[in-house]
């Protein structure tokens, strides 16, 4: 492609070429200026390169910005990964049995009456109990901190669901059809939030985070915990945040503010 275009480029006058070079430099400058674009560009890994432990993906959820009754993150996740609401699957299962990769939890302080709401999803622990108990090795933690289920070797025993303190995993009870090509899911296997691994690998943010920003809530922030320059690390180093069930010592990847 490039080779074919070379003669045409050589045929350009020098002033045109200078203009093009200048224009490209300007565009690059604009993209870099807000800072965020620079970081996301730097994170995009080549397709043939394996994930490394130099990166650890994490999330910060500010519950004070999480709107009461808003389910944008849940809807976006369901749509992106093809589960639950509106999909054609799990018609025979009870509501409590259906897949739920992310859910909204409403909390109320019994003494003061203060209520707030937050999204609960897989916390992508550094020491995940689901991985500890998995008898086949299907439940595993990727080098970059994303906890996944390898459904090729999952036997559907559901020990991981029992072990998870966050109730983050679901079991698929029915034959499914029309799955998303990048989010395979099927009967007899356990599944949970993947931090939208297909998007993360492409240098994009998970669907829930994107939807939260599109809805102008900006309650969710995704980034690299191991990169001190990332917006996530910057905020975590300056602001107070909480791990849910910090007493378990799991060192979760998802942290909350305002709980």
């Amino acid at each position: 492609m490039n080779e074919q275009q070379t003669p045409a480029t050589e045929g350009c006058s020098s002033s045109r070429r200078n203009f093009l070079t200048g224009a490209i430099a300007t565009v690059a400058g604009v993209a870099v200026a807000p800072g965020i674009s620079l970081i996301s560009l730097a994170q995009a890994r080549p397709a043939d390169e394996a994930v490394s432990k130099d990166t650890r993906w994490g999330m910060l959820i500010d519950t004070s910005k999480c709107a009461d009754g808003c389910t944008d993150c849940v809807t976006a996740c369901a749509k992106e990964n093809g589960w639950g609401i509106g999909s054609t699957d799990e018609q025979h299962s009870a509501d409590t049995q259906r897949a739920q990769w992310i859910r909204k939890v409403d909390l109320r302080d019994k003494h003061t009456g203060y209520t707030h709401t937050l999204p609960m999803l897989c916390q992508h622990c550094e020491n995940p109990p689901c991985v500890d108990v998995c008898p086949t090795g299907a439940s595993f933690r990727r080098a970059d901190g994303i906890v996944l289920v390898d459904k090729h070797i999952c036997i559907g025993c559901r020990y991981c669901m029992m072990a998870c303190p966050y109730k983050a995993r679901s079991f698929v009870h029915e034959v499914l059809e029309d799955q998303k090509p990048y989010a395979p899911r099927g009967k007899g296997t356990v599944e949970s939030c993947t931090f939208c691994v297909h998007r993360t690998d492409a240098g994009r943010t998970p669907a829930c985070v994107e939807a939260c920003a599109v809805g102008d809530h900006h309650a969710m922030l995704f980034g690299d915990l191991n990169d001190p320059r990332s917006e996530l690390s910057q905020r975590l180093s300056k602001e107070a945040s909480t791990q849910v069930r910090a007493d378990l010592g799991l060192n979760v990847g998802v942290r909350y503010q305002g709980i």
């Binding site: 390169e49 394996a50 749509k79 509106g86 990727r142 090729h152 499914l176 297909h198 690998d201 492409a202």
Partner: protein, 159 residues
Amino acid sequence: MISLAKWSRLLALAVVAFVLLTAPARAEEEAEGGRVPMPNEVEAKGKQCVQPTDVMRRNHMQFILHHRDETMHKGIRTKQYSLKECINCHVQPKADGSYPSIHTKEHFCNSCHTYAAVHIDCFECHATHPVGNASDVAAKTETGPQSMDKAPAAGGMAQ
């Protein structure tokens, strides 16, 4: 003692007789497509597969098995041996715009696996057709799965 030449003549005669005698039966079988369910020659989108056809026929399972572990555990998402790319190229919309079902002979994978009597589990989880604006996907979503009624709060899933 019969000479070699005589043996040859006898053999040739036997072959000719066999061909002549069984011709009507074979013609009938060929007309019906034979007793064996032959694989359906499904047109792919591209002109050239990632490996020569004979190599793919024999080894495609090794290629995608290796690639599956690389992708799942290491996040390597090259396209060459990706099942998603197999589907993108080999599964094309029918004349009415819908994609062939994995359970029919029109589907590239199922066509050959039926012939080879090999049961595969890939498509219990993996998508059986490329993602696009295929009319069947849209129609299926619009006609309304029951769960839409049960959970109106979170909105529809129109593609």
